[in-house]
């Protein structure tokens, strides 16, 4: 039985006339991990087999090994399949057009089928996702997870086609995305991952792929509770400015709201194992008199239509500046983490368009924020594209020569956050 707890971190005191209430909510789940094979789980590996996957040939070979490693990590009884993606999608392993429960025999059959995969043709990620959706929908599994690997841009379909595929897949399954090499588009894959509540990362070296695929599958196997929603009630006259997951990575959920009535909306959070995640909620309320208190938000978690825990975000107006100017450390930390992701993406964009002044300024700010936030991993990545003169003030120079893989790693991992004491959740 899964237990969720939610803790709120905020400074509830607002100056007179102030309207914006910010809070960080830490949600932790325990007892969510399945002891045995998760009944009703399904897993699909989508492997890019476009012609470029054999340039160099190590890419496709590594992808096949990685897919085999993922298949080996699928627990007995979990329904699974493999899709070969080119400008078409093909179920390489889904006997009789359906996912099959994992056994030693089916795992071996699937690995043999993967081994046969030939690289040819183009890339149309939307069609791959739609086939995965069809296969998932033929199962009664509640926990549905896919791994998508690509090495190139989505050239064989339009942005609209991809968007309509994403809309059709949202809520049907979650998908972790990986890009191998440097010919894929970070923003494009980030869009796919965030729409399907998954992670995105770069695999710089084909040889690293197998360990990563195994780890992703193991994480997926550790999920025990599907389709958890974050429900937010706000009072009359209030506006939700944003709802973001801020740890382990930034995922903006604001536009994903499903309104239940004028004051209540549900935000999807996907499947949970035993884990902690942090959310930053920002609500604009109507200002009140000194001493007035209102509830700015009531957050709860909803599993199978049951509300299982709740947390209160409060607002108290005061004329005491001592109280209203206090900075809540959690809110400040995650405000910095969100800005960090933003300035990295904007800085790299400016660098690509040749605007060195903006790039230097934005990436300098990124160094400063990463130093303050304790983002060790991000600092190392920044170090590969910058000469850092003074991290505290963000004084930096752009390196003349930057490896493309370093720039893409920085971009891809910009949304990865650390928690307040510098640890990963």
């Amino acid at each position: 039985m899964t237990t969720f707890t939610a803790d709120v971190y905020q400074n509830e005191f607002l100056a007179l006339g102030a309207t914006d209430v910010d809070a960080v909510v830490t949600v932790s789940a325990s007892g969510a991990a399945p002891a045995e094979a998760p009944a009703g789980a399904a897993e699909i590996v989508i492997i890019d087999a476009s012609g470029s996957m054999v340039h160099p040939s190590t890419k496709l070979k590594a992808a096949k090994r990685a897919t085999a490693a993922a298949i080996d990590a699928i627990r007995d009884g979990v329904a699974f399949g493999v899709i070969r993606g080119t400008d078409l999608a093909r179920a390489v392993y889904a006997p009789d057009g359906a996912l099959v429960p994992a056994t030693d025999e089916t795992r071996a059959q699937a690995k043999a089928a993967v081994d046969d995969i030939l690289a040819s043709g183009g890339t149309a990620i939307g069609t791959w996702l739609l086939l995965a959706r069809d296969l998932f929908e033929r199962t009664d599994a509640g926990l549905r997870h896919a791994i998508l690997l690509t090495d190139g841009q989505n050239q064989h379909e339009t942005v609209e086609e991809l968007e309509s595929a994403l809309a059709a897949c949202q809520g049907v399954f979650q998908c972790d995305c990986r890009g191998v090499g440097t010919d894929w588009e970070v923003a494009e894959l980030r869009r796919v991952a965030s729409a399907l509540l998954g992670s995105v990362d770069i695999i710089a070296q084909p040889d690293d792929m197998a360990a990563d695929f195994r780890a992703m599958t193991e994480r997926s196997m550790a999920k025990g509770t599907a389709d958890v929603a974050l429900r937010l009630w706000t009072p009359q006259g209030a506006d939700v400015r944003y709802v973001k997951q801020v740890a382990p990575a930034i995922v903006d959920l604001t536009d994903r709201a499903t309104p239940l009535d004028a004051r209540i909306a549900d935000y999807p959070t996907g499947a949970w194992g035993d884990e902690e995640r942090d959310y930053h909620v920002s609500i604009r309320v109507v200002a009140r008199e000194a001493g007035d208190e209102v509830l700015a938000g009531r957050l709860s978690l909803v599993v199978d239509g049951q509300v299982i825990t709740q947390a209160l975000v409060r607002a108290v107006w005061t004329d005491d500046p001592e109280l209203s100017t206090r900075i809540n450390p959690e809110v400040a930390h995650y405000t910095g983490q969100a800005e960090l992701a933003e300035v990295i993406q904007e800085g790299l964009e400016a660098r690509r368009s040749g605007d060195e002044a903006t790039a230097t300024f934005k990436l300098g700010r990124a160094v400063q924020l990463a130093t303050e936030g304790g983002n060790e991993g991000t600092l190392q990545l920044l170090d590969r594209v910058l000469e850092v003169d003074d991290p505290a003030t963000g004084t930096v120079r752009l390196k003349r020569h930057v490896e493309e893989v370093d720039e893409m790693s920085l971009d891809t991992r910009s949304t990865k956050t650390v928690r307040i004491h510098g640890t990963s959740p």
């Binding site: 012609g51 070969r84 046969d116 030939l118 004051r263 509830l295 209160l312």
Partner: protein, 203 residues
């Protein structure tokens, strides 16, 4: 249980007003995901194996080309030519493979109810009837199926890279019989084309 907030709202929550949020002290709709089920394709009836014109009733001879259906039902009426196909190889644009110029086509008589097409097995292991060295052919790639009227159809067995017919761009759906006529070309793997031929009636 309800409470009344300082502003006079009746609230179902008793800690704070469920309307204006004022301090004082839930019903949840069910959320059911939509269910869509898959449909399976319907079978296709076999046309004349030689010219493709639909067969009417239980006619012995084809209305169009005069083929004697009873004659074709006998064993060895049909054969396939199997070999590397340069044009198909160029079309698939299989990366990282070289075309096997030294491999020539062979003719295999079709016998029995099912003729399997698949990857060549190591010596000593039982393989499919049509064994191929093509690296992009799956272990069991496709099966040629002899229909009751003596004509042949092909079924893709869920192969990794698919089966196409007559240079079409889209592969056929797996596990669905696709009727074949004389001269139809079945493409598998990176370069292999299998052409269906009607042998001389004298054979």
């Amino acid at each position: 249980m309800t409470a009344t907030c300082p502003a006079g709202h009746v609230s179902t929550t008793t800690d704070y007003c469920d309307q204006c949020g004022a301090r004082i002290g839930s019903a949840e709709p069910a959320h059911v995901p939509p269910d869509t089920s898959a449909t399976s394709p319907s079978p296709v009836s076999a046309p004349c194996p030689r010219c493709g014109v639909p067969r009417t009733g239980r006619d012995r001879y084809c209305e169009s080309c005069g083929l004697d259906f009873t004659a074709t039902a006998s064993a060895s009426a049909w054969a396939v030519t199997v070999g590397p196909d340069r044009e198909y190889f160029t079309r698939t644009a299989a990366e990282g493979l070289d075309f096997p110029y030294d491999e020539s086509a062979r003719t295999i008589a079709l016998d029995g109810a099912r003729v399997r097409i698949g990857r060549r097995r190591p010596p000593g292991e039982d393989g499919p009837e049509i064994e191929l060295g093509d690296p992009a052919v799956s272990r069991l790639h496709a099966t040629l199926v002899n229909a009751a009227d003596g004509s042949w159809a092909v079924v893709d067995e869920g192969s990794s890279n698919g089966t196409t017919i007559n240079a079409q761009a889209d592969p056929i759906a797996p596990h669905v019989e696709v009727p074949l006529s004389e001269g139809d070309r079945v493409h598998v793997g990176a370069w292999t084309t299998i052409t269906l031929a009607l042998r001389s009636r004298a054979a």
